[in-house]
């Protein structure tokens, strides 16, 4: 009997032990950080920690200490986009797909800015996010699979590809900030959206949202997006008329025309699968039309698929400049008549950037364009003086041979807007192009560098991806200073610190992420501070 009692006692103890030994930790600890990405804002760096449904904001103090703040965002981040002024960060989340319980999150948009966060719930999940350069609107849409910057959804779900969700961050009182619109579909799916600047239309000053699908273009009046009944969008189906083949838009540019006129706003569309460019002229609409503007369509054959477009001021007036590398030429299109003028180029340039304001001596009546290309066959850049196109187009080009192609061009912010940083295609360095003197100073590296500019344009940071040094180049003297860093460096951001000075934050995004903070003008790394385990902090 005693033995039975003892067995009973031991069994009770064992059961108690088994029961009390239960208890799970928070799920986040079992998940490795996935898709860690860092984004530089003006005064901080924001690290996305998607598996923990948060971002970690890193602010440098005056003594290079790192202040860390964790901010919750929606589950399963789809896109992260900083605002153009680098004051805000927009985080679009798919939410929990599919929702199985009331605790599962809905799709959402989180707006992060200094000292405040705003969470906006959405009714449908989409992956594409584009921010209005003017800061008022956001467009959320179904991004095509593989779209740069868009993460795939966590699971398959039904998505209406023709739904565009417009978020008005400055919605008038009584109006919803979120306006979902389903655009008419002729079989196409949205590929890109563009917010236009304010343009002068027959109905007044307007901002438009231009939606490019894989076969048409849709115009939506943003200033009347809250109207009831809603103003329908205008869809322009693209085709040559000679064949049934749809034309695939690949980019647009817009020009407001003369300030005194309201019927000469033009949208030019380059086509990826055709030699034509499409010009839409926005004039008055027919009486009774729900919209107060209407596009007139013109096609101009530029001899090959255009790789870049820009409206430019020439000595002959406004032109649409199209770069056609397949024929090693630029083509100027007269917008009213569609007449074209071909300008042969020394290289097959594929990119064009207007640098008029940065070049001294320009009159303002004619633009100067910088031509560069991504292909290694291009051996440099050229300045294209558009004030000489009418009579002597062959004399309008001034080549700056670099001995290598140009992979990308970085615009140096004001007040050093007269400089451009050209990343060489061969990966052996980069060039600092002075638009005023039209000189290109080479800076040689031993490995393909990653480049990062300071917001004030004073400095350029160059570093090998995954290396353990960062180099600062003073853009006024082009003097490089190399700073060793104890950790592997994958991202570098030049930010304004708490004291109003500048600090540089170098991130090692492996594991749980470490960050090294240095004074931006440091001459060595002795005064730096490295903080480890950033993604271990601030969790429940």
């Amino acid at each position: 009997m005693k033995n039975r009692a003892k067995i009973g006692l031991f069994s009770a103890l064992l059961c108690t032990l088994a029961l009390t030994a239960c208890g799970d930790r928070e799920e986040v600890w079992a998940e490795a950080p996935r898709g860690v990405q860092a984004f530089g804002l003006r005064d901080r760096v924001v690290v996305l920690d998607d598996s923990a449904k948060r971002v970690v904001s890193l602010v440098a103090a005056a003594d290079q200490k790192l202040e860390r703040t964790s901010v919750r965002v929606g589950a399963n981040v789809a896109s992260v986009v900083p605002s153009k002024d680098l004051e805000k960060l927009f985080v679009l989340s798919y939410g929990d797909l599919p929702r199985r319980s009331a605790e599962d999150e809905r799709p959402s948009l989180t707006v992060l800015q200094t000292g405040a966060e705003r969470r906006i719930d959405l009714s449908s999940a989409h992956g594409g996010l584009v921010a209005d350069p003017a800061g008022r609107y956001l467009a959320i849409f179904a991004a095509a699979p593989g779209t740069l910057g868009t993460r795939p959804p966590p699971s398959s779900f039904v998505e209406n590809p023709n739904e565009i969700v417009i978020v008005d961050l400055e919605a008038p009182p009584g109006k919803e900030a979120v306006v979902p619109r389903s655009i008419r579909s002729f079989g196409g799916k949205p590929r890109a959206v563009t917010f236009t600047p304010v343009v002068n239309l027959p109905g007044g000053a307007r901002r438009l949202l231009v939606i490019e699908t894989d076969q048409d273009v849709t115009l939506l009046d943003l200033d009347h997006v809250h109207d009831t009944p809603e103003r329908p969008e205008i869809t322009v189906r693209l085709g040559t008329g000679s064949t049934a083949k749809p034309l695939a838009p690949a980019g647009i540019v817009i020009d407001d025309g003369e300030a005194s006129r309201s019927d000469d706003t033009r949208i030019a569309i380059r086509i990826s699968n055709d030699t034509n460019v499409v010009m839409l002229t926005l004039g008055p609409s027919a009486q009774g039309s729900p919209n107060d503007f209407f596009p007139t369509v013109n096609l101009s054959d530029v001899g090959g698929p255009a790789q870049d477009l820009a409206f430019v001021k020439t000595d002959g007036g406004l032109r649409l400049a199209a770069l056609v590398p397949s024929v090693r030429a630029a083509v100027l299109v007269e917008p009213s008549t569609g007449l074209t003028q071909k300008v042969d180029l020394p290289e097959a340039y594929s990119r064009l950037a207007l640098v008029t304001g940065a070049v001294p001596g320009t009159t303002g009546t004619a633009d100067v364009a910088l031509l560069y290309g991504a292909t290694t066959s291009t051996q440099g850049v050229s300045f294209w003086a558009l004030g000489k196109t009418a009579g002597q187009p062959y004399r309008s080009l001034e080549a700056v041979p670099l001995g290598t192609g140009v992979r990308s061009v970085l615009d140096v912010p004001a007040p050093r807007g007269d400089l451009k940083v050209l990343e060489s295609a061969n990966g052996n360095g980069f060039f600092v192009l002075d638009l005023a003197s039209r000189t290109a100073s080479p800076l040689v590296t031993t490995a393909r560098p990653k480049l990062s500019l300071s917001p004030g344009g004073e400095r350029l940071w160059a570093f090998p991806d995954g290396g353990n040094v960062i180099s600062r180049i003073d853009l006024s003297t082009l003097h490089p200073v190399t700073l060793p860093v104890d950790r592997q460096v994958e991202e570098v951001f030049d930010v304004t610190n708490r004291a109003g000075g500048s600090s540089v934050i170098a991130l090692d995004t492996r594991g749980t992420v470490s960050a090294t903070v240095l004074a931006a003008d440091a001459v060595d790394a002795i005064g730096g501070r490295t903080t480890f385990g950033l993604l271990l902090e601030g969790l429940p």
Partner: protein, 287 residues
């Protein structure tokens, strides 16, 4: 079921099996004696005599000695064969397994569950023994470790408690005593993660104050005999209680090394405290 739970179950099973096996052996004569009152009074005129060789000893399961009166022809048969000592007073050497249920968010990076298993070592000495009660004091050491991953990087935890148990006992029978224990002491928590973005493991040591309060019972397994007989005895001891430590906020930093550029700062973690109910199952040897 966790490994420590399996181990605990096996441990308990072995103890039970051994106890049952012992119970099934032929009982040592005579049968259990009353625990406190002797059934026979020692005769004052009969001095204790050593038992002759070859005569089986008198075995009684009692906390007090039973002295048989010598008589003619059998005087050496009932005589005690040991020098009696103070009953219920002994040294105890204990070894056990302890599981603490400590639900604390600060421990989450280092353990997947809220429980921490530890090995317990303890030595104590009876200071006072009066009747069925006694008081003992000693020193104990609990140590346990856990390892897991925290956000994809290896992490581990080692927890030490060095305690001074003050234990009051009540001896219900020669084979059973219950106890209540208070054990103040020190706690040391060692935490570490091995992060790819750090040059060494990130770690921290957090000392603190610890206090245990518990109750339990000890069951005699081997070594039945008079309580005042000085001999080694083996006990099984289950114990319940609550353990408490002061809280601390660990900062996981790199190991000290040469040629460090600038200043290195660690990750500031959540507050850590190992507080919660615990269960300990041990064996003890008394002498």
């Amino acid at each position: 079921m966790k490994s420590y739970q399996v181990a605990s179950f096996a441990f308990v099973s072995v103890l039970l099996a051994s106890r049952v096996a012992l119970a099934q052996e032929p009982p040592a004569p005579p049968a259990e004696a009353p625990s406190s009152e002797p059934s026979l009074e020692p005769l004052p005129e009969a001095p204790l005599q050593p038992r002759p060789i070859g005569v089986p000893p008198l075995q009684l399961r009692s906390t007090t000695s039973v002295y048989a009166a010598p008589n003619a022809g059998a005087e050496s048969e009932d005589a005690p064969v040991y020098t009696p000592s103070k009953p219920n007073s002994y040294f105890r050497f204990g070894l056990g397994a302890r599981v603490t249920y400590a639900p604390n968010a600060g421990l989450d990076p280092f353990t997947e569950s809220d429980s921490i298993g530890q090995v317990s070592l303890e030595v104590s000495r009876t200071l006072l023994a009066r009747g069925k009660t006694s008081l003992a004091i000693g020193i104990g050491w609990d140590v346990g470790a856990k390892a897991t991953t925290a956000r994809g990087v290896d992490s581990d935890l080692t927890h030490h408690r060095v305690l001074v148990p003050i234990e009051g006992r009540y001896h219900f029978a020669s084979w059973l005593y219950g106890f209540g224990k208070v054990a103040p002491g020190a706690s040391l928590l060692a935490l570490a993660v091995k992060d790819a973005s750090a040059p060494t493991a990130l770690s921290d040591l957090r000392p603190g104050f610890a206090l245990d309060a518990s109750v339990g019972a000890s069951f005699l397994i081997i070594g039945h005999g008079p309580a005042d007989q000085k001999k080694a005895r083996l006990w099984a001891t289950p114990e319940f209680g609550y353990g408490w430590t002061t809280s601390a906020r660990p900062t996981l930093t790199t190991d000290a090394r040469e040629d460090v550029l600038g200043v290195e700062e660690g990750a500031s973690m959540n507050l850590v405290a190992v507080r919660g109910g615990f269960f300990r199952l041990g064996i003890g040897v008394t002498y």
